[in-house]
Amino acid sequence: MENLVDQGTRPDCAVIALIGVTREYAGHGGVVRALDQASFSIVAGEWVAITGPSGSGKSTLVNLIGCLDRPTQGELVIDGVSTSSMSPAELDRFRADKIGFIFQQFHLIPYLSALENVMLAQYFHSMTDAKEARSSLERVGLGHRAEHLPSELSGGEQQRVCIARALINNPPILLADEPTGNLDAANQKIVADLLRGLHATGHTIVMVTHDPEMAALAQRRIALSHGKVFCHPVNGPVVSLER
């Protein structure tokens, strides 16, 4: 398979731009190249699905975009700032400002209420504001469940709390990792509608998914295989791609 490069989006207009990004790990059998010379851009307000089989480099790509890791080579620019030369502390701060995470497993703290789980993201970002956190929960339709513990919520409700938490600090990028992977069809639809709504209001969504139906919701699909990136238009030519 040929490594395709997104030619249609200029990196200087992008909210996320990877320019020849490589990530290597030292393994027992030598150096493993998890991501190989990846170059693509995502513009503000775009909804992109990242797909690929296990071991294709999705996790590495998510870690890099989520500022949890830095490239071995190349440059990763997020919201106009290169993360490659940031110190770990700067990267922590940058992550809190720029990225809202939506996890497959929700990762809510079990002993905190839905409201407190949302406030936790505020706490690590700046300062807590219960009113604001409550309105974030109302935005995902869970205002009436604010005081409930995660164990008292359904899977779909937990994922909506997770989305409310991701939105609370108004990050420019939502990074969703298999957001419907643990949900039944009904809840999958609720979450998909929520993401659609967020996209409609201008949020940039980067979504890792195995689910073709969810991938179909995105404007563009970035396929990974053996650490290499292939870009496909899914729902119309948002960006022009060249083979």
Partner: protein, 438 residues
């Protein structure tokens, strides 16, 4: 939010926190007990070694040469310089007055007379305090009986207040009593001589000292002074004082030291500096430390203190390892939370602060309890080891100054013990939880 996370951590990981707290509690209990004993051991060892006699002896400065035959002072009372009994009250005014635990003045005389059965008596005798109050306010109850606790008395000690112009009470050494067939109740009538009248000495007891005292009569100092015709006279004074073990600085001559160094020397309770202060307080007196007792005390103190420090260090080390193990498990259980916090933008410092605060709170609480438990243990151990009576062995041995020391040690142990687990948790890739199950 910080306190919410903190409190929930204690609430949810009660067992883990209890284990870590217990480790700190046990460690600080042992340390408090050892420190409390180590800080009071000087007094206790002194009490124990007090049975071996005084550690300072006071002589008249003008009377350097003692004349003793078979351990008995044969110098005539009138034949040498004497100290004044009335001057001994000045011992209560010296800098280290409160460290003086016993004072026993002596006046050796000869008693010549007859018993009621006609047996001739010509024996060495010593005038002593038996149960005397030295000083007025805050008087020290002292005397030869307290300073020689190993002396065995059959009968009772003579009473100073029983001394009159014509007679007094006395006790006889076992050898002398056997030789002269003296028993409690026997009366010796002394010969009149010079400017002294005949007096009766009623034997109230037979004393066994295991030394030359067994060949003597012991009588109240005021009676000896009357018989010798030397009121207020004292030949020698034994002083028992709590002292700091002798070191090189203690052996310095204070007159050769700089004013600042002399001040330090003077304000340390060395036997030498107490002796120096006694010389200053009592005109014409020469005071010297009894080296044998002092050195034994110093050696014992050094060894026991060393052992206690060793036990304290071992207890703290063990507590540190236990805290480390308990915290490692507790933090491992919360890896998911740590990963989530990191992905939400929490810096390593913020997460570390949360866990260090937990460890710190645990240390303060467990350390405080350990201090109380250790104080109780110290009181109990003190009573067991030294088998002593008195305030030192009654209940716990609360030394307030140890509280901050023990809590600080607990904090250091808890923080040091938690550090490996916290470091490990923070170096774990937070992205691991992002992809959990993927």
């Amino acid at each position: 939010m910080f306190f919410r996370l903190l409190m929930e951590s204690f609430r949810r990981q009660r067992r883990r926190k209890l284990l870590a707290g217990l480790a700190i509690l046990l460690g600080t209990t042992a340390v408090t007990a050892m420190l409390a004993l180590a800080t009071t051991i000087g007094d206790r060892i002194h009490q124990e070694l007090a049975v071996y006699g005084a550690n300072i002896v006071v002589y008249p400065a003008a009377d350097q040469l003692e004349v003793k035959v078979g351990g008995v002072d044969v110098k005539p009372v009138s034949g040498g310089a004497l100290l004044h009994e009335s001057d001994l009250a000045k011992l209560r005014g010296i800098f280290w007055a409160n460290n003086i635990t016993g004072v026993s003045p002596e006046l050796p005389i000869r008693v010549v007379g007859k018993t009621a059965s006609g047996m001739s008596v010509d024996a060495a005798a010593t005038g002593l305090w038996f149960d005397h109050f030295l000083g007025k306010a805050d008087a020290l109850k002292t005397g030869t009986a307290a300073m020689h606790p190993w002396w065995k008395i059959q009968g009772s000690w003579p009473k100073e207040e029983a001394t009159t112009d014509t007679g007094s009470e006395a006790v006889a050494g076992t050898v002398l009593a056997s030789h002269l067939h003296l028993t409690p109740g026997t009366v010796i009538q002394t010969n009149a001589g010079g400017n002294t009248a005949s007096r009766s000495l009623r034997i109230t007891g037979i004393v066994s000292a295991g030394d030359d005292t067994d060949n003597q009569l012991l009588l109240p100092l005021n009676a000896a002074q009357q018989i010798a015709g030397t009121p207020d006279a004292v030949r020698r004074v034994e002083v028992s004082a709590r002292t700091k073990p002798e070191d090189t600085f203690a052996r310095k001559d204070p007159d050769t030291l700089s004013p600042a160094q002399r001040e330090i020397w003077y304000c340390r309770p060395y036997a030498n500096s107490i002796a120096y202060q006694i010389r200053e307080a009592i005109p014409g007196a020469r005071a010297e430390q009894v080296r044998r007792v002092e050195q034994s005390e110093g050696t014992v103190l050094k060894r026991i203190s060393g052992l206690m420090w060793l036990i304290s260090a071992a207890a703290l080390l063990a507590a540190g390892f236990a805290v480390s193990a308990a915290m490692a498990t507790a933090i491992l259980e919360r890896q998911g939370e740590i990963g989530l916090m990191r992905s939400l933008g929490a810096s390593k410092t913020t997460v570390a602060l949360l866990f260090y605060t937990e460890a710190g709170l645990l240390a303060v609480f467990a350390g405080g309890l350990g201090y109380l438990a250790g104080s109780g243990l110290a009181g109990w151990l003190g009573a067991r080891i030294f088998a002593s009576e008195g305030p030192a062995s009654a209940g716990s041995l609360l030394i307030p100054v140890l509280f901050p020391v023990v809590v600080t040690l607990a904090l250091l142990v808890a923080l040091a013990g938690s550090t490996p687990a916290i470091r490990r948790a923070l170096t774990t890739d937070p992205s691991a939880i992002l992809r959990a199950g993927a």
